[in-house]
């Protein structure tokens, strides 16, 4: 999923006929003061983050003057909000709120079709509203081939008691146009002059649709750089996840990799990361090894391949070639099963790498090796 920052989502909303507050970006207190001066009104300073819940974490500041905007920005920039460092602020005109609504178009994972969601309880966490005041939420399933029915939108307009029903149609068009998983306005503010403004904006895109969404791809480039190892893995359609322990994992298949994480922790070990490759061949293993070595220093690398379609001998050959060419930073334990497994194990034996057919035995060996490396860190596996 691609989670656009608020300012990016607002750029798209605005270009698609959804009104948003006037605003400017600021990377320094001076820029924030200048933005306030330029906007010529009271402003809101909003950190542009990937995490949710910034308001609850005290991450929003109000300012009536450029001087106050400067001090507000001084406080926010560089601060840590829910584990993320604030680098960028959206400085926006403050909107006079008469009423706050909630509107969204998203995927109903149960019905497996789009759903429109509208509520008169805007400005608060919609999941809480769903729990405490379910009657305040209107949900309308949509046949994706037809789009929302006109009478359904009229129902929403009546429920909301305003012309905002019309906005839901626009929001749905956005959802479709950008292959979104979620587009959300919370709150949609109705001002004292009866004007609708999207005071917040969320647009989450579908990674798998990026090939036909050049605009989203472009906006993704603007996002703070992700971990280079994760980026390289993504390029190859692999998954790399960093974790806090000391056992590296190289495995194929999402489900099996998760099962290995569970198994390691059941035996008292702590995973350091994992690289999940799809079914790969010998050269693929070589590259995957290389990525694991560059990713992070681990105390032991556990490799697991269940070769249902590929061949163990080719996978082992890829490992042998890597080990001959490059020094390994940590001991390696391999679990290999599937086509040509006897040949695969012979190659690994010749290379001096311990290999197993049984998953539990391989995990036990890896956990033991990791424990020997850092006995103080992992007292729980001293008996393993």
């Amino acid at each position: 999923m691609i989670h656009l920052r608020e300012y990016q989502a607002k750029r798209i909303f605005s270009a698609n006929g959804i009104r948003v507050p006037r605003g400017m970006l600021a990377r320094s207190p001076e820029e924030a003061a200048a933005a306030c001066r330029e906007l010529g009104t009271a402003v809101v300073l909003k950190p542009q983050l990937g995490v949710k819940g910034r308001a609850k974490a005290g991450g929003i500041a109000f300012a009536d003057s450029p001087a106050l905007a400067r001090t507000g920005a001084q406080r926010l920039l560089g601060a840590d909000i829910r584990g993320e460092r604030v680098e960028l602020l959206l400085v926006e005109e403050k909107v006079a709120i008469e009423q706050e609504l909630y509107l969204a178009a998203t995927i109903d994972y149960h019905e497996r079709q789009p759903v429109l969601v509208a509520s008169t309880a805007g400005g608060v966490d919609i999941e809480i509203v769903a729990r405490t005041q379910p009657d305040k939420i209107l949900r309308i399933g949509v046949d994706i081939r037809q789009g929302p029915a006109a009478n359904a939108l009229a129902t929403v307009a009546r429920h909301l008691g305003t012309t905002a029903g019309d906005w839901l149609g626009r929001l749905y068009a956005l959802f479709r146009r950008y292959d979104a998983e979620l587009v959300e306005i919370n709150p949609l503010v109705i001002t004292a002059d009866n004007v609708c403004v999207a005071v917040d904006a969320v647009l989450n895109g579908d990674e798998d649709a990026l090939f036909r969404q050049p605009e989203l791809e472009q906006l993704r480039q603007e996002l703070p750089a992700e971990d280079p190892v994760a980026a390289e893995a993504r390029e190859r359609h692999w998954t790399y996840i960093d974790l806090p322990g000391n056992i590296g994992i190289l495995s194929s298949g999402a489900g099996l990799t998760m099962a290995i994480l569970d198994l390691i922790q059941d035996r008292g070990g702590r995973p350091a990361n994992f690289l999940d490759t799809a079914q790969i061949d010998g050269p693929g293993v070589y590259d995957a090894f290389d990525l694991c070595q560059r990713a992070k220093k681990v105390d032991v690398l556990l490799v697991n391949f269940f070769a249902g379609l590929n061949r163990c001998d080719q996978l082992a050959e890829g490992i042998r070639r890597y080990v001959r060419e490059k020094p390994l930073q940590s001991p390696v334990v391999v679990r290999l099963v599937g086509n040509q497994e006897t040949a695969g194990h012979r190659i690994l034996r010749e290379t001096g790498i311990p290999s197993f057919r049984n998953l539990e035995e391989a995990v036990d060996r890896a956990v033991r090796l990791a424990g020997e490396k850092r006995p103080a860190d992992t007292p729980q596996d001293s008996s393993a």
Partner: protein, 293 residues
Amino acid sequence: MSILVDEQTRVLVQGITGRAARHHVELMQRYGTRVVSGVRPGAAGERVHGVPVFDTVREAVSDTAANAAVLFVPAAVMRESALETLQAGVRLLVMVTEHVPRHDTMWLLASAREMGARIIGPNTPGLIAPGTHCKIGFLPADYYRPGPVGVASRSGTLTYEIVARLSAAGIGQSTCLGVGGDAVVGTTFAEVARLFETDPETQAMLFIGEVGGGMEEELAGLVHAGEITKPLVAYIAGRTAPEGKRMGHAGAIVAGGRGSLKSKLAALGDAGVPVAALPGDVPELVRQALKVN
């Protein structure tokens, strides 16, 4: 017997001239699957491992009476290809391709629903019915044995891992089906459970789930409501997965408590479904389930 496929299943392969498709046509044939035709626009008249290739699905279906299709086409053309297949009257589509845009999957499901067709996947290794020598997709045949257990899973390699253990323990399978690792898939655990419930060969069911999504909870609801009477066992991978991180499968992300292990264990527990904590625990639980029957 089995669900969805059997000896009468006549398989059409879309995108048959691709490298992976060619390889799997051969493996499917070797297993005994009747692969009757292939489609690749512009390649009419060719043969792939003896299978005739057509330009369109309609021609392939009318010439070879195909009644199931496996789609090896790129994600970007999946919607178009699958719609062509539905419109040609095929009522079972297995979409092995990964990375299909979600809007496209939803579109296809709406069409399939209307036409009374079933879609398996996308992002599925396919299905195999060991007693009928029919497999569609790329599940590696060596690990499967005919028998009484119906298996459904969200993950390919994890299925091989667990089914290999079942087979080694002398427990065979009626049908094994990968529902697919995406957040939106054509056939859910609950739907598979209904099919196994009415299949005379299936005496017990095994569901290999993951954290994320709501499929396990939905399945538990069905059991709880008494709609599934055959014994059922579950395993859930990712019990130690960190919240908020996508664990490889698009479906396997726990966010805001949704799809958490806790919610799945609670739902399955309420329904009286035994849940294995680790792959190694599965064969014994399945053995007990078979005894109950």
